[in-house]
């Protein structure tokens, strides 16, 4: 049930272009625990910019 909730939230966030921050950090630190990562806020802003940036196709129709 909890897993389902979490998945629903992840779906809703991805629908508006916001990706999973924890997965991002985990990925960045996979080989180097001290690798520089964006903060949660920076990550959110990066996702926002990317969604309305170049080459992000959504169907207006």
């Amino acid at each position: 049930m909890l897993k389902l909730m979490r998945q629903a939230v992840a779906t809703a966030r991805l629908m508006v272009g916001v990706k999973d921050y924890d997965a991002y950090v985990a990925r960045r630190r996979r080989f180097n625990p001290d690798a520089p990562v964006m903060t949660r806020d920076e990550f959110f802003r990066a996702c926002q910019e990317a969604r309305f940036g170049k080459g992000n196709g959504r169907c207006p129709c």
């Binding site: 809703a12 629908m15 997965a23 959110f44 926002q48 170049k54 992000n56 207006p60």
Partner: protein, 688 residues
């Protein structure tokens, strides 16, 4: 034993579908329940998904669960992220679902519900979903390359350039026609206009909240915004009822068009977090929620379809759009059956997030089936209202006149009995002063939705609320699409201009930014304005242009897919994309040809221009023009539209020639010549 059980289940599904189709097709004078349309559609989807998409996945594409996807190979947690199948399905569906499947079927209902239903189902199974899945497949095999880049790589640089120009023109038309749908819905409606206007301050508030107060808290800010939106709808009713305030929110079509043009410019220049992003949250969640709500509403209410299965207007004399069933039904319903624009989405962010190749089937094919169901629901919503009311709402004033008396006389003359009282009553029920001549789909859909939803929640008293809720839902996400689309169009202009004047390609440069944004707004604004002042209502002219353009893009994507299959040496299976590609070429080129050279001025831009310039030469003023200057403008606009159609046709013919040449070259050798990224396979038990 298990096997037998399995087949038995599919036999039941097939029989249920066949029975539903029989009920729909054999209807004689009685009204049919919408449940039969739902059963027919769902059984078609199930069978198509289970058998046809599996055939494509396993035999044509030979999807391999062990082959690493770009998300795994380039996983950076940001652009390339392996994503759970269901989560990515939701993302992809939200990205492809727009206003298209809600508008097209509503317009097509003038021919009855049956032709539209059949085309939506056949189109999605054999063309639309195939296209989406193929493009997603090709892009996933190429590190998430865009459609333009894939065309460039597989068909050559000139073909790539032609495609980019085609996409740019299509974008212009889409934005214009979408903005026109909103204008048509808000004209002279203080309630609607007030609600939509309120979305701007609400979005600004939300933007500040997510930027400075609680960054990233999308859930809570969306709930907050949603509550404010509902208050705006409720308060809008009070605004409309107040004779002092109502005029402040009552505008003509041209005023609204200018407002939208100005707003589009400002919105796409402002920082995205302030306006675009928060509106995006509201519109996306509202859209998904309403689609689900409508589905529940239809299943709970089980409304009867009032529209006949087939009307006399299949002969091409219909008031909503001109032209006979073939080819014009097939371009009027674009999205929901087959939508070329999805080729851009399927080669956008989704391929960079596919976790495993075998997910291409549910995401590519499955999400498109779902979008098709949205189109079916829109068709149902348009068919549950009284046909007389439907035609009153969707026929131009030039045809049915300006008063309910005239309209009911004309429409009753067509065989759809309606009285002035009925038309007034519907307008009163939904809280408007008039419902006449509101072509464009949104108001009709809103009346249909209000008709269904008020039976679930609220009863008759809530009908006006539901109507304005539906208008808000459509207008909000159309406007969000127009803002985001204007930004996308600006980047396209910058790319294209940048090939000639380098500095114009810099997206950071303020001057280049303003110039390209201005160009973007001016280009769709031109067509919007032309549509608004068009006495035939604009939708009549612009929607076929959009349909032809969107289908042509689908044709290009399917031709690319065909060439890729040939290059993969899968000639045996090439019919999977070749047949729909040829079908779409036939439909769009026929429609384009008729739009240019038909003898009827109702269909052909050139015949219309001839008629008006002949009258102009004799100093006559033909209705709907009111002066000779207007006559001239009508002729000029006809020529602009004709040139545009000719350009679309030239683009698609050029692409067909490119495809043919490359396919022949590929057939001349015996080995695959396709340009995929070399395959890397997952090791047993490990994860890259």
């Amino acid at each position: 034993m298990n096997q037998t059980k399995n087949w038995l289940i599919w036999l039941v599904v097939a029989l249920a579908g066949a029975a539903a189709f029989a009920v729909l097709a054999l209807e004689r004078g009685e009204t049919v329940n919408a449940v039969w349309v739902v059963v027919a559609a769902v059984s078609v989807y199930l069978i198509a998904y289970r058998f046809y998409s599996r055939f494509i996945a396993e035999s044509v594409m030979e999807l391999n669960g062990k082959r690493l996807t770009p998300a795994e190979r380039h996983n950076d947690g940001l652009d390339y992220v392996p994503t759970n199948k269901s989560v990515l399905f939701g993302h992809h569906f939200a990205a492809i679902a727009g206003a298209g499947p809600l508008v097209g079927p509503v317009l097509a209902a003038q021919m009855g519900y049956l032709p539209g239903t059949l085309w939506i189902l056949a189109g999605v199974v054999f063309a639309g979903a195939v296209q989406d899945m193929m493009v997603l497949f090709m892009s996933t095999r190429r590190d998430g390359k865009s459609l333009g880049d894939m065309v460039r790589a597989e068909l050559g640089p000139i073909a790539g350039l032609v495609t980019s120009i085609g996409v740019l023109m299509i974008m212009v038309i889409i934005l214009a026609v979408l903005a026109l749908v909103v204008v048509k819905a808000l004209m002279g409606s203080p309630w609607g206009t007030f609600t939509i206007a309120m979305t701007i301050p609400i979005a600004l508030l939300m933007g500040v909240y997510t930027r400075f107060i609680r960054p990233g808290k999308i859930g809570e800010v969306s709930v907050f915004g949603f509550v404010l939106l509902m208050l705006a709808i409720v308060y809008g009713g009070k605004v409309a009822a107040n004779p002092d305030i109502a005029p402040l929110f009552t505008y003509s079509g041209t005023a609204l068009a200018w407002a939208l043009i100005g707003y589009g410019f400002v919105a796409s220049v402002l920082p995205v977090w302030l306006l675009l992003a928060p509106r995006d949250y509201l519109s996306t969640f509202l859209k998904i929620g309403t689609i689900v709500g409508l589905a529940v509403g239809i299943v709970v209410v089980l409304p009867n379809l009032q529209m006949p299965s087939v009307t006399r207007f299949i002969d091409g004399t219909g008031p909503v759009f001109a032209g006979s069933l073939f080819p014009f039904l097939f371009i009027t319903i674009a999205c929901g059956a087959v939508s070329g624009f999805h080729a851009l989405v399927s080669s956008g962010t989704t391929p960079k997030m596919v976790e495993n190749e075998v997910h291409i089937r549910p995401i590519g094919y499955g999400a498109m089936l779902m979008e098709s169901f949205v189109a079916i629901m829109a068709l149902i919503a348009a068919s549950v209202i009284d046909p007389g009311v439907y035609f009153a709402m969707n026929s131009p004033a030039a045809v049915v006149g300006h008063t309910v008396q005239e309209a009911s006389q004309v429409i009753s003359g067509w065989g759809f009995v309606v009285t002035p009282d009925m038309l007034n009553q519907v307008a009163r029920d939904v809280g408007e002063t008039t419902i006449l001549s509101r072509a464009g789909g949104a108001p009709t859909l809103a009346v249909g939705m209000a008709h269904i939803l008020h039976q679930v929640i609220g009863g008759k008293a809530m009908m006006a609320f539901w109507y304005h809720f539906a208008i808000l839902f459509e207008a909000l996400f159309i406007l969000t699409a127009v803002d985001a689309g204007t930004r996308a169009l600006r980047f396209m202009f910058q790319d294209l201009l940048g090939t000639f004047v380098k500095p114009l390609a810099h997206t950071e440069s303020l001057i280049a930014n303003l110039l390209a944004t201005g160009l973007a707004v001016a280009s769709w604004g031109y067509f919007l304005y032309q549509g608004v002042i068009d006495p035939l209502g604009g939708i009549n002219t612009l929607w076929p242009l959009f349909g032809i353009a969107n289908q042509m893009l689908a044709g290009i994507a399917l031709m690319l897919a065909t060439v890729v299959l040939v290059k993969m040496q899968k000639v045996r299976h090439v019919w999977v994309t070749l047949v729909p590609a040829l079908g779409i070429l036939l439909v769009t080129l026929t429609a384009g040809w008729q739009k240019l050279f038909s003898a009827s001025p109702k269909i052909s831009f050139l015949a219309h221009a001839d008629k008006f310039s002949a009258a102009y030469a004799q100093g006559q003023v033909l209705a709907p023009a009111k002066s000779l200057a207007e006559m001239q403008r009508i002729v000029f606009n006809d020529y602009v539209d004709a040139v545009l159609i000719a350009l679309f046709m030239a683009v698609v013919i050029a692409m067909a020639l490119f495809a043919l040449r490359v396919a022949r070259q590929a057939l001349a050798v015996r080995w695959p010549t396709v340009k995929e990224v070399p395959a890397v396979y997952r090791e047993e038990g490990g994860h890259a």
